[in-house]
Amino acid sequence: MSAIAPTSPRTGGTFLRRNAIWWVALLFVLLLPQVARSGTSIAVLNQMCIMVIFSLSYNMLLGQGGMLSFGHAVYFGLGGYFTIHLMKMASGGFFMPLPLVPLAGGLAGLLFGLLFGSFSTNRAGTVFAMISLGIGEMIAASSLIFVKFSGGEEGITADRTDLTSLFGIRFRSEVDVYYLIAAWMVLSAWLMYRFSRTPVGRMANAVRDNPERAEFVGYSQKHVRLLSFMGAGFFAGIAGGLFAVNYEIVTEETVNLVSSGTVLLQSYIGGVGFFAGPIVGAIVYTLLQTLLSNYTEIWAFYVGLIFVATVMYAPTGLTGIIMMHLPIYRAGKLRSLALPYLRIGVPALCCTIGVIGLLELLHFLSVRAVGQSTKRLFWLTLNVEQPFAWIIFSVLAVGGFLVARRVAPSVLAAWEAASLHAFGGRAR
């Protein structure tokens, strides 16, 4: 497991130096609203931060612990419900500052993690995945059955400004909430990183790699998994709590299988083999979701395509791709890749445009009003009843794909040459 920090045992230095990257991160997120001032961009940032925590917690299972969960939203959603109930109760008057309410979500996530983890962490692999799916389905169904607790379809709402003010801050504006969420995000990310560097965190990797051997060095694979599972539940619960604070409503959508799928998707796209992978994934996913949805109604389809492409062609995720180029960049050899990348980039772009074109036209066909025959796409007005657009996009898609596949080996060879150079011929 590579991480953003060096893993060698001899990393001394002061607290400040050791954690320099975290201070920079904190400063960065605190300054962000100065750049992104508009209400919508703050809203996007809030969502992004929540997703960062959620994905990082998911990776405590998948990347660090080798547990493929299809039901991680259970802890996110339950964290959200418990937090929103606390907010409702607290608006009755007892002392409960808003920044602390996500802890209720964390605690709920932790306890349900203990409950469900106690019987699902004996083994990883298929059995674990199936149980997680079952629990996910069960809790999602419960959220529509136990209406008193979940509010049924409408969900539960609360007003965060009713809570005790802290130093006169009532969290009326989105920016105030942003600071709250961002602070929780940096703190949570830091804690999760610290966890990965503790004896249990290291043994989580060991159990992921080889559970049998871990038992022969003194560790119960179940207990190691359970501890990771509870930690993952806790931070997912924190994320859910922040969701409740941010949106002031929690519905079945937070806890259902779609939500569980989303966190898997974004973590994987970011790269589960790296601590920073899920962060990248959450940022990219949120951007895709918010930006893409401005332009197209079938954005979720594209996200699915990207996921499949990642699994097939870049299993180490976006972070893995970046990490593949870091040594090449350091060796100053990045430029040698410009031409090969252009060679594959152009046909790949053509293929992408072709696929998008075909999909958009198909979608338009199925939703258009009677008599409507033209669609604006790529700054062009296209007539779906004429074959012209269809032919062009088909040629682009198929031709681009074939050319890209043809040049791929030579591009790969160029990359290998560059990285061999970067390692100075050092044998691996």
Binding site: R194, G201, N205, E212, V217, G218
Partner: protein, 249 residues
């Protein structure tokens, strides 16, 4: 004096075939004991029974007088018994250094700590570095274990096994696949680290066996046909016939 390991009429069947057929064995505290026998005799199976990878069909296993027959592998390890595997069994995606460190964490009492920074556990890190030095892997410390060569993985296998400083060490063909000089180094290492400890070793290399063992047991078809000091085993006609053959001459 209680024995370090005591096996009482131990039996193991897979389906209808009995692989271990009533083994009785006592290995004294501080003894270096070699188990030899032809391929398929059941040596590794015997290890798997002692370390609870398999559950015996019948019989008892005692570690320092304590019955460990129905325990879990991790419980037995915590009682001070550590083993290596004939087929390399490491943590492939972790670095060589981390592999060894995993072997030391529990034994050095860090257990399920989720509040301490491993990089600051000076005792564990120093010990792991020491072990790396012993197995000649310091230059490879940061390499993922999965990309090591076969011989290097064998060395790491031993490193993980001894990292916790267990009092009873079981090695399954530690020198298999090593060349002469690697074998000599490994024998020296095993001799050094098992000073005042109990060692049980499965080994096919007779020079290693006769050089290192205080006592030898010969396992043939799931039964111990002879057990005693090296000279006695060397001269035992039944052993010569069943196993040693030309090798001992």
């Amino acid at each position: 004096m209680t024995a370090a390991i005591e096996l009482v009429d131990l039996r193991k069947s897979f389906g209808s075939t009995e692989i271990i057929r009533g083994v009785n064995l006592e290995v004294g505290e501080g003894e270096r004991h070699a188990v030899i026998g032809p391929n398929g005799a059941g040596k590794s199976t015997l290890y798997n029974l002692i370390t609870a990878k398999y559950v015996p069909t019948a019989g008892r296993i005692r570690l320092r007088g304590q019955d460990i027959t129905a325990r879990k592998p991790y419980e037995i390890n915590r009682m001070g018994l550590s083993r290596s595997f004939q087929v390399t069994n490491i943590f492939p995606r972790m670095s060589v250094f981390e592999n060894v460190r995993c072997g030391a964490l529990w034994a050095m009492n860090y257990r399920y700590s989720f509040w301490q920074d491993v990089d600051r556990l000076d005792d564990v890190n120093e010990r792991s570095l020491q072990i790396l030095n012993d197995i000649g892997m310091v230059p490879r410390a940061d390499v993922p274990a999965g990309v090591l060569s076969y011989a290097e993985q064998r060395a790491l296998e031993i490193g993980i096994t001894i990292a916790g400083g267990a009092n009873v060490v079981l090695l399954d063909e530690p020198t298999a696949g090593m060349n002469r000089s690697e074998t000599d180094q490994t024998v020296e290492l095993v001799r050094r680290i098992t000073e005042n400890k109990t060692l049980i070793m499965v080994e096919h290399d007779m020079s290693v066996v006769f050089g290192l063992a205080d006592r030898i047991s010969v396992l043939v078809y799931g039964e111990i046909i002879a057990s005693g000091p090296p000279d006695e085993i060397r001269g035992n006609p039944a052993v010569r016939e069943a196993y040693l053959g030309a090798e001992a001459d």
